[in-house]
């Protein structure tokens, strides 16, 4: 082990060689013998009853092995897809969850909904055959506008008014009391735009049933293969867990969208037994747009109560959250427990009351997308804070500083107990890096060139390291959110780290190896990370919500420490010393006060040959496992400052400067962390300036390709100035907080605060396209003329 590869070193990613040389093994790279192909016939209508489904011609088409429908699922007693988090209404009653069959059973509920699957020798044959399926649709009204959904006609019979739940959090009476004392109330209406995840690798699946053993294998693009197996076994009923192996090989980006258990992989694994052949499906990009779970999509009204000194007294929030046509795997918790508990932001807010209605619409399901609830909360709080500062004539930095939480631990009025933080430190560093004091001069210079310059702040917080199992259980989660790890030491001292976390871009093969090599004092190349296969790793909850570091690595450390403890016992026998005298440091077990020592690898060999001890006193071998259940969320925070220049003639926004100061606690690999920050900001800027899913009134997805859906490109973004502060997390052994979502959470309000600053009024939607900003400039100009 050297300082170059230890914890804190910017080690180059071990996995990149195979990725950039085309040696990655993604699901679509895997081919099974005699593999057949699935094509899903999808609904062209947003909402329709299926009066008749005639598959007879398709069944006879060339190469077709099977045409399967919702009736076949029912006949095989295959259950529907589930939502794993129960939310209760204000009155204590449970949410209204409609059934979610993997193939339609009498009704389709969004464009792209799965009507039938055709399995054929080739993909083209499957697609050709699907054109021969005759569907008699009775078209029903689309439900697209959340504000009109209650009277639009039921999408699911269980929810006649299309309201899934009417939920709340916080103390209404205390909040009303705070508002009654207010000297100033700032009000804001916000839309958090709907996003389509667009991972580079589209979703894919191969189902492969082995009739010899009765074991199903599912290769799938998953962020959490064990959860997929659990759901497919225990709820969908494909096969018991010991007869179902789920492999999530290299996965090319997830951003949340590959957490969920979808219809396609369910059907592929089920159908592989029915047709007696492995069944492969790979989404094309249009299918990805139509059927990947979308993100965000909130309409909110918020009010902030201030006293006469500009101190915040209370916050009231009313949000409508679009959940789409079906409840996806974790959808219900995103606009509730991943959203409202973050509404305190970095601020000392004595009273908060939030109400959230989850709404069914005839659109693709909406679920967690990078940040999941936390970006929506941060956008709301950071927009209303900025507006409040402007309305009270306060400097936005000073206004934030005045209201920051300054002592820790801090209990917010909305569940969360922040263990630690230093918000002023991030703000100070960000102001310095952004050269805030000279902003006015820069604004003047821009004005001379006919440009509008603006500056926007975002002081964000997020809750990562999801999550203490008992706590989430009490809030309705159907699973525990611990993580597991196993350290297998080979006889010559190389190490395999088996983890329940899953890497789909995060670089775990590097950072986990860094941690283990550092801890064991061995070479980083002696450590391999194994993940993504339910046959290899006992169990795991997967990767999302920046939990791989705070939770996954904590489990690894626990297991490593058990290995060291066992190693000490082995070393005591081998070195003929008392166990209490054995020390472990820099990869060597030594006897205190002597020059007798053994390297880690030598002790491993002793453990396996077991010549120096007998099996009654000590078990041979060197392999330890651990489960780690966190005791709290972690609370990364930071301040991002965005500076924009707007061309009022076209409405084009140019981000001229981006300052990011983040407090992620301790950092394993600063290069990877900085990469996460860059990617997060790019996604956040995407939401703020470029991306917006748009359904028309008929429920057709207008933005179903890159012709209309704007992904961020390199030339949309500036170079980022990234700084870090560090107040280590106090509730996990590594002091890690997590960095995966920070940029995506911080960026949108920073951008919109900068644009609204530049154009001089608050009504700027996301995405703030040139057209939207031009309209805002027109309104701003009218306002200035009126003054």
């Amino acid at each position: 082990m050297s300082a170059k590869t230890g914890v804190g070193a910017p080690v180059l990613r071990k996995e990149d060689f195979r990725f950039i040389t085309g040696k990655g093994q993604y699901t679509d790279d895997i081919n099974r013998q005699d593999q057949a192909y699935a094509y899903f016939l999808r609904s062209p209508h947003a909402h329709a009853n299926i009066k008749k489904l005639d598959i007879s011609a398709a069944q006879k088409a060339p190469g077709v092995l099977g045409v399967l429908t919702g009736d076949d699922l029912a006949a095989d007693k295959i259950g529907g897809l589930i939502c794993g988090w129960m939310i209760h209404n204000k009155d204590g009653s449970p949410m209204k969850a409609g059934a979610h069959p993997a193939l339609a059973q009498g009704k389709v509920r969004y464009v792209g909904d799965h009507v039938a699957v055709v399995i054929a020798d080739t993909y083209a044959q499957a697609k050709d055959a699907a054109e021969k399926i005759i569907v008699d649709y009775q078209v029903l009204p689309a439900v697209v506008d959340m504000n009109k959904a209650k009277s639009a006609g039921a999408i699911h019979d269980v929810a006649p008014d299309n309201v899934v739940y009417d939920w709340h959090l916080g103390d209404k009476a205390a909040t009303d009391a705070a508002f009654s004392k207010a000297k100033h109330v700032t009000k804001i209406d916000l839309v958090n735009n709907r996003l389509i995840p667009n991972a580079m690798e589209p979703r894919a699946a191969i189902g492969d049933f082995d009739s010899g053993t009765g074991v199903y294998t599912l290769y799938t693009t998953s962020q959490n293969p064990h959860v997929a197996r659990l759901v497919l076994s225990a709820f969908v009923g494909i096969a018991p867990e010991h007869k179902l192996r789920v492999i999530a090989p290299d996965v090319g980006g997830g951003f949340g969208s590959k957490i969920f258990i979808y219809a396609e992989e369910t059907v592929c694994v089920w159908a592989s037994k029915k047709v007696g052949r492995p069944v492969k499906w790979t989404a094309d990009r249009t299918e990805a747009f139509l059927s990947d779970a979308h993100g965000r999509d909130h309409i909110s009204h918020a009010e902030l109560a201030l006293d006469d000194k500009g101190k915040i007294l209370g916050l009231r929030v009313k949000t409508k959250a679009n959940l789409g046509a079906y409840l996806s795997t974790f959808s219900s918790c995103v606009p509730t427990y991943l959203y409202a508990p973050l509404l305190s932001g970095q601020y000392d807010i004595p009273a908060i009351y939030a109400e959230v209605e989850g709404i069914y619409t005839t659109t693709a399901p909406v679920d967690a997308y990078r940040g999941a609830g936390r970006p929506e909360a941060t956008f709301l709080i950071e927009r209303i804070i900025e507006k409040a500062a402007r309305e009270t004539g306060s400097d936005p930095a000073m206004f934030r500083r005045k209201n920051f939480i300054k002592s820790f631990p801090h209990q917010t009025p909305v569940i969360m107990a922040y263990d630690t933080g230093n918000y002023t430190a991030s703000l100070d560093l960000a102001l310095e890096m952004a050269d805030y004091k000279n902003f006015a001069k820069r604004k003047k210079d821009s004005a001379k060139n006919g440009k509008l310059r603006g500056i926007g702040f975002s002081a964000y917080i997020e809750a990562c390291g999801i999550a203490p199992s008992a706590a989430v259980g009490s809030l309705g989660a159907g699973v525990g959110l611990w993580e597991s790890a196993e350290i297998r030491v080979n006889p010559v001292g190389t190490v395999e780290v088996l983890t329940g976390s899953h890497s789909h871009g995060q670089g775990h093969e590097t950072t986990f190896a860094q941690l283990v090599a550092d801890r064991l004092g061995i070479d980083i190349d002696s450590v391999a990370v194994v993940h993504g296969d339910t046959d290899k790793v006992q169990f795991g909850m997967g990767t999302y919500g920046s939990r791989s570091g705070a939770v996954g690595m904590s489990a690894i450390v626990k297991a490593v420490d058990k290995v060291i403890a066992k190693g000490k016992k082995v070393a005591a026998y081998a070195l003929e010393a008392a166990e209490k005298d054995i020390q472990f440091k820099d990869g060597r077990f030594s006897v205190a006060g002597t020059d007798k020592s053994l390297a880690f690898g030598e002790v491993a060999l002793q453990a396996y040959i077991a010549h120096k001890f007998n099996g009654q006193d000590l078990e041979p071998g060197l392999k330890e496992g651990a489960f780690y259940d966190p005791t709290n969320f972690t609370f990364p925070s930071g301040v991002h400052i965005c500076e924009v220049e707007i061309d009022p003639d076209t409405g084009t926004t140019d981000i001229v400067k981006w300052t990011a100061v983040d407090d992620f606690g301790n950092v394993i690999n600063p290069m990877i962390v900085e990469g996460q920050v860059h990617g997060g900001i790019a996604q956040g800027v995407g939401q703020a300036l470029l991306e917006g899913a748009h359904y028309n009134a008929d429920g057709q997805l207008v933005t179903a390709s890159y012709m209309d859906y704007t992904m961020p490109r390199a030339d949309d973004l500036p170079s980022f100035d990234v700084g870090m502060t560090n107040t280590p997390c106090t509730t996990n052994p590594l002091g890690i907080k997590g960095c995966g979502e920070a940029g995506a959470i911080a960026a949108p309000p920073a951008v919109i605060n900068a644009i609204t600053d530049a154009v001089g009024h608050e009504d700027v939607p996301m995405p703030a396209t040139p057209y939207a900003v031009w309209q805002a400039c027109q309104k701003g100009a009218r306002k200035l003329a009126a003054e």
Partner: protein, 267 residues
């Protein structure tokens, strides 16, 4: 993609014969529109008549006071041509801004003009520069050639062979891209040749490329960016979609025209 027959004629004449024989056949040039459309099963020609092997359809030359470009000449060749850069730098710059490098390496000037996509760049250059479109049958002026969205004067079996651009005294193109596709939301090509000023607009019109009378009138007396100050373009007949209203497009036309004139008159 559905199955189709493939032909690779060696001459334009053979291509025309094949086109006549294959009623549902389509001419394949660079394939940057046709092939994606076929892949999405939105087009299903019975045959592709591939011009990529036909002789005499590529190349750029100056003939007197004209730049003549073979129909199968790729965008990248126009963008990097010393002849074009010298004679009509605005045309080279336009070609350099089409799509991305992959598109420019395959896409052709003839294909773009024949397709007449309402947001394509080349039609604006052809119209503003008063180009002549030379087919296997005749010569067609740009004013006659472009007949509305995806509609041209080309008849059955007619194939563009060359495009001839009179060399202007000043010309430039300015494009405001659709944020998603980066096609022209509004693209304006301005050209001055003698006392003749032509301003062609792509991307904005609901009926394809058109000439802006308002901008041309303002620039006729004085080919100067300031001449466009205060010029208003009517929004009627302009596209409206989720990316831009007709009003916004109308507003952008003189803005882009002004920037194009600034470019054309910059020394």
């Amino acid at each position: 993609m559905y199955a189709f027959n493939y032909h690779a004629p060696k001459t334009v004449r053979q291509a025309a014969t094949l086109l006549a024989k294959n009623e549902e056949g389509k001419v394949l040039a660079g394939g940057q529109t046709l092939l994606p459309t076929m892949k999405q099963r939105l087009a299903s020609p019975s045959a592709l008549i591939d011009l990529n092997h036909a002789e005499g359809m590529t190349g750029i030359e100056q003939k007197g006071r004209n730049i003549v470009i073979g129909a199968m000449t790729r965008h990248v060749e126009v963008a990097t041509s010393a002849v074009v850069k010298n004679a009509i730098p605005g045309l080279a710059a336009l070609a350099e801004g089409i799509g991305d490098a992959a598109v420019r390496n395959r896409g052709t000037i003839g294909g773009s003009i024949a397709n007449n996509d309402p947001a394509a760049d080349y039609p604006s250059a052809a119209l503003a520069l008063n180009a002549t479109i030379i087919t296997n049958k005749r010569k067609i002026t740009a004013d006659e050639f472009f007949q509305g969205m995806f509609a041209t004067a080309l008849e059955e079996g007619e194939i563009i062979v060359k495009v001839s651009f009179p060399i202007p005294s000043k010309a430039a193109y300015e494009k405001f891209p659709n944020p998603a596709s980066r096609y022209a939301l509004v693209g304006v090509f301005v050209a001055k040749k003698g006392s003749d000023v032509r301003v062609a607009v792509t991307g904005a019109g609901s009926n394809g490329v058109f000439r802006s009378k308002e901008c041309e009138a303002a620039l006729a007396s004085r080919f100067n960016a300031k001449a466009l100050d205060g010029v208003k373009v009517a929004a009627s007949g302009l596209n409206a979609d989720m990316h831009a209203s007709a009003d916004y497009r109308a507003h952008l036309i003189p803005v882009m025209a002004k920037r194009a004139v600034e470019k054309a008159t910059a020394k």
